[in-house]
Amino acid sequence: MVRGVIFQIVLIACVVGLVGFLVHNTLSNLASRSIATGFGFLQKEAGFDVGESIIPYTPADNYGRALLVGLLNTLKLAVCGIVLCTILGTLVGIARLSTNWLISKLAKVYIEITRNIPLLLQLFFWITMVRLAPSPRDAVELLPGVYVMNRGVLMPFPEPDPLHTYIYITFLVGVIATFAVARWAKQRQMATGQQFPTFWAGLGLIVGLPLAVFFIVGAPLVLDVPKLQGFNFRGGVGLTPEFVAMLVGLVVYTGGFIAEIVRSGILAVSNGQSEAASALGLRRGVTLRKIVLPQALRVIIPPMTSQYLNIVKNSSLAVAVGYFDLVSAANTTINQTGQAVEGIAIIMAVYLTISLGISLGMNVYNGRMALKER
């Protein structure tokens, strides 16, 4: 007991001493190199341009805004990546368990290749592939109005119209109503055992209702379709080559890991469970939804969380292909101002916040899915 207390006091002394030593050294080094300290530089003019931005940005804006642009780009990449790699990973994971030998082996080859080659190398490969695509004049029309070329991907986008506001509002109402219906249906099923077609009702509310409003207000849709003018395209919304390469690279790499997680999750549910369900007379779909999936998710969620965190952290490799993410923004800022301590502190704080946020969210979800023992 006494030894424990003494040990802890010594530990505190060591940690405080080390931190004090480092801070003292850093301050004296900064002073001798006449580097400014503090976060005042965030208000200064950045002077560099960025590859792409969701919010308006010019080189005349300050460093703070440049970092914000980088953060938003990181989040955009991470969100798209998480959604797509979940879909890809789940498909490949199921394919791995397919009774079709060819598909199962193909999934295995995909998993082994993506998991055993460094992400950085895969990103180099994808950015080279994107740059090898044809020039705008020979762009490939993948779908009507969707063009793929070495300057990225262009697709049509509806031009904004004041009447669209009503559609957005109905969409929101539809989502909220669906939640309410699902809650009511569950309570009714618990009380009376009667089932309610929640899925179809929700589909009608979320898709059908806004569609109806769209036609009622007179179908105000003008598509901004990309058109070739001279050497380049005009109109439409585009994805830059860097973004495409980053997204494809992250999704393909992480998809391999998620496929293995999904596969082991499904295998973890014993056969007896689905046999028992079919013995009770449940249909295949219901068995999958109500018996197998909830139990598989219990195994899948914790490792899936760490893969989502990996996507967020791996998006920092954007610096290698020239996508303007948070790390690129901070790196440029550090190079220009010399304030490495503040720059790295900002990066670390942001990533820690995102990581802890995702962990927290997934823990709450996991807590709801976890086995409730009485």
Partner: protein
Amino acid sequence: MTDTALTNPSLRPPVTQVGVIGWMRANLFNSILNSILTIIFAYIIVRVVYALLDWGLIHAVWHAANARACRAADSGACWAFIGEKGRLILFGRFPYEDQWRAVLASVLFVIAMGLSGWRAFWNKRLLYLWIGVTAVNSVLMWGGVFGLSFVETSLWGGLPLTLILAIYPTMFSFPLAILLALGRRSRLPIVKSVCICFIELIRGVPLITLLFMASLMLPLFLPAGVTIDKLLRAVVAITFFTAAYIAEVIRGGLQALPKGQYEAADALGLSYNRKIISIILPQALVVVIPALVNDFIGVFKDTSLVTVIALFDIVAAMQNALVDPDWRGPTMEAYFFVAAIFFVFCYAMSRYSATLETTFNKGRRR
């Protein structure tokens, strides 16, 4: 007695149930959907494999003076680039005439890694093996003794550097990781919170930030006048990074151990240190060896990130080879070459880890 199956018990099963046709019916065409999928994917596979063979073998160029001669000779891959730049990619800027030293060092590392996977070596011999290999390889890489010329670390590169950056941080991080894992499970509140802070802080940020920190901030942290080698800085960053991850793996092993083991050790009156060293760790560490191998694969792949702080690992050496104006263009060939090297190492280790897992689980599965 007309039933043939009874009168002639050695009758062969129908030809559609066994052999190639039977196998194909059971595994490729067992339903309408599967038949359609099989045909679609078989077509795609044939096309892709043919395109790859066409590019990589049939129309490939094996000898050429430069990239332009390559393109003029044929339309396929320019493997002449690998012939010309292979040594640069594999050994970086290590002095050309001394590269046999880098080759020998890499071979020794690979042999030592192979021996470490052999269970007969899981005792004191492993320690002697790595001390020996480290000593010999230090002499080979640095030189300066026995008539070998001195090579400074900034000239190290390619495969030996990749191996060094994967092996040594993992080795150094191991004791740190054990302390962190024990600390995180400790009953002393301050020890526990310090360990949790360290682990979560490191696991929450990308390795690239730690590498930037090591290259930009470490010089600021040290007293004026003290400088440390760039390679050492990377080793320090990767060590801390790996320690946090391995600590979590070891914690998993500690948690998997039945409570009875702790209680029995306490009942025997063993001190905390004795209990941990003699009872808990030997059992907990064996359980997590497959997971540790997987972590090592992760570190091995992550070493490619040191290219952002201008260390010449195999990926950076590859990029360096690609900027030669005489050899502009064979980018894909270079990627394939380096990817193949990584694949061989990582795939071998992942197979090994999978085998180990089945072996360990054998005793536990009844």
